[in-house]
Point group: C2
């Protein structure tokens, strides 16, 4: 940070090919170039953290069907949490912490439309990419505005130890519900119960996980908060309560599948007068600030933890971190911590 920006090397991550299976390093390539110029009306942001989002696997598919698309040759979409190192934009000062939507790279020159200020007194910078960012807000609005669980009701969180699920379970507990989490290891089960306050956590890799779930939910499931899809959604649907709701926040198990599969037990929606409902966080963008104020209060009061799981590396290490995300290595949000953050 000592010398002029032209000496700064900018690693940029491009998609090389449409992946098959879990995306890995072979599907991406890193190119180096000088950091971009900061234009008038722009700031230059140095990236400190990137979040790893399972949904990236969906938008690199050979399909125009989803909200966004990244094609081979494109800069990989991503939002950095970083610091303003040069400003030609009134209202932004050098040294401020921001989220900058400009793709996966070390330096981002961007205008106000791509920027969001991070108040690091509310939550640490990296949390703004995870539990205090879109992942956490997804859980917040899903629970507070869409599901509205009541004391006495039971909420199942699929993908419970992930970026969204780890917040969803805590907020459902704050609402007074009984919360069951499904996750992929004993370690994660212990963490959900002991650190995050889940009532019950079940390892879906246990051969009898469904029986465990039946036992854990004698009054069935009023809400299934699902960001996983696949067998976990399919079997949990058999336990949906009368007039229950499945809130669809993602389908991570399906993003890397050649042919996506739906839940064969959808017929239970009929029997139980239940609904399966889509939900997209961007519809709540005008309420993000209010939600963050509420969440910051919970954090201060010790009622909400914002777990993130940082791996250190540079932009070129992003693909490996993404692979680890799909391997389920993370407790909470998986983030890549760049050299600038250290």
């Amino acid at each position: 940070m000592s010398s002029g920006q032209n000496e700064k090397i900018n690693q940029q991550l491009f998609l090389k090919q449409v992946p098959t299976g879990i995306a890995g390093p072979e599907d991406f390539e890193t190119k180096e170039s000088p950091a971009p110029e900061c234009g008038n009306g722009q700031v230059l942001v140095e990236s400190h953290y990137f979040g790893l989002d399972a949904a990236l696997r969906l938008i690199v598919r050979d399909s125009d069907e989803f909200l966004f698309r990244v094609r081979p040759g494109d800069l990989v979409r991503g939002t950095a949490a970083g610091r303003v190192i040069e400003s030609k934009l009134s209202g932004y000062e050098v040294g401020e912490y921001v989220l900058a939507s400009g793709g996966v790279q070390n330096f981002i020159a961007c205008g106000p439309g791509e920027l969001e200020r991070c108040d690091v007194s509310q939550a640490p910078l990296e949390a703004w990419l995870g539990g205090f960012g879109v992942s956490g807000l997804t859980a917040y609005f899903a629970l507070i505005k869409e599901c509205k669980p009541q004391p006495g009701q039971t909420v199942l969180v699929n993908g419970a130890a992930g970026a969204v699920g780890s917040i969803a379970g805590q907020i459902a507990k704050l609402a007074g519900a009984t919360v069951i989490g499904l996750t992929g290891s004993e370690e994660k089960c212990d963490w959900l119960v002991n650190e995050l306050g889940y009532d019950i956590a079940i390892n879906y890799k246990d051969s009898d996980w469904y029986d465990q779930l039946v036992t854990a939910a004698p009054d069935r499931l009023d809400f299934i908060f699902d960001n996983v899809g696949g067998e976990v959604l399919d079997l949990s649907l058999k336990l949906i309560a009368m007039r229950g709701t499945v809130l669809l926040c993602g389908s991570t198990s399906q993003y890397a599948q050649e042919e996506m599969r739906g839940p064969d037990n959808y017929i239970w929606l009929g029997t139980m007068r239940a609904r399966m409902q889509g939900y997209v966080i961007f519809d709540y963008v005008d309420q993000y600030e209010e939600a963050r104020t509420q969440m910051a209060g919970w954090i201060k009061d010790g009622k909400l933890k914002i777990p993130s799981f940082a791996v250190s590396g540079d932009v070129c290490d992003f693909p490996e971190a993404f692979k680890q995300l799909y391997e389920g290595k993370n407790l909470g949000k998986m983030v890549l911590k760049l050299p600038a953050a250290i």
Copy 2:
């Protein structure tokens, strides 16, 4: 009808075995016995018509998962439309027309809990088993209470020429919506458009049916009224409109499948903030009378047709009629017309 009831022969239909594939005559057996005695507090009803319901295939499966179950050796569930021929129940007179829930047989001795009066001035007796009965009421409440389509909105009816779909499309038209029907033959397409007033009908056996649907629904589908499931539901889901609703009224394509399949394109619910919602007609039982009054008015005004498709035969012919239902022979409700009705 001239002599004592003891001389009357009662054919009764039993399930012989759990069917594989479409249920056929080999899966049922008919037994004959004298007509039952009419006990105190009962009426004796002679059956004139039985409705053929696709859902029967679901409840004869080797599974306790559904609303009802008929096991091998059980009398087959069914509701007769018939006439009271003997009464030991105050308030019911000989000669009255009723629906009697007492299984598939010629004579039913039953009490008030199994009886419903049919006002044949509102609709003909056989219509009480179809478009003026549970099938038509299913369509009515689905459209009027659950979907509430508005002028300018588009409603897709899957299984459009069936007992439920043939009423659903007409009611959606009465609500002012644009109505598209999917059905299984050119003849049915013509009938939907020319007789029932559908705006567009598409034959799902055409190889390009999905492209035809894309063209027919330039503003996508606000409501998908589905009682079919399978590929028809799966592909139509790709056209659900923003905040659209899939109303699940059945899954006839799946009832005879060894392994039921769900809609793989359920992920579109997420993208489109849409919902797929279960619905069971029995929840509206206290509003049937009000609905029938409304529907009878529409019938009188020539705004609603109650199509039924009668095959003549006795109780022993029920399995063959059921097979024909699954082969899609019917325009509107498939009913078996018994000798007593002639």
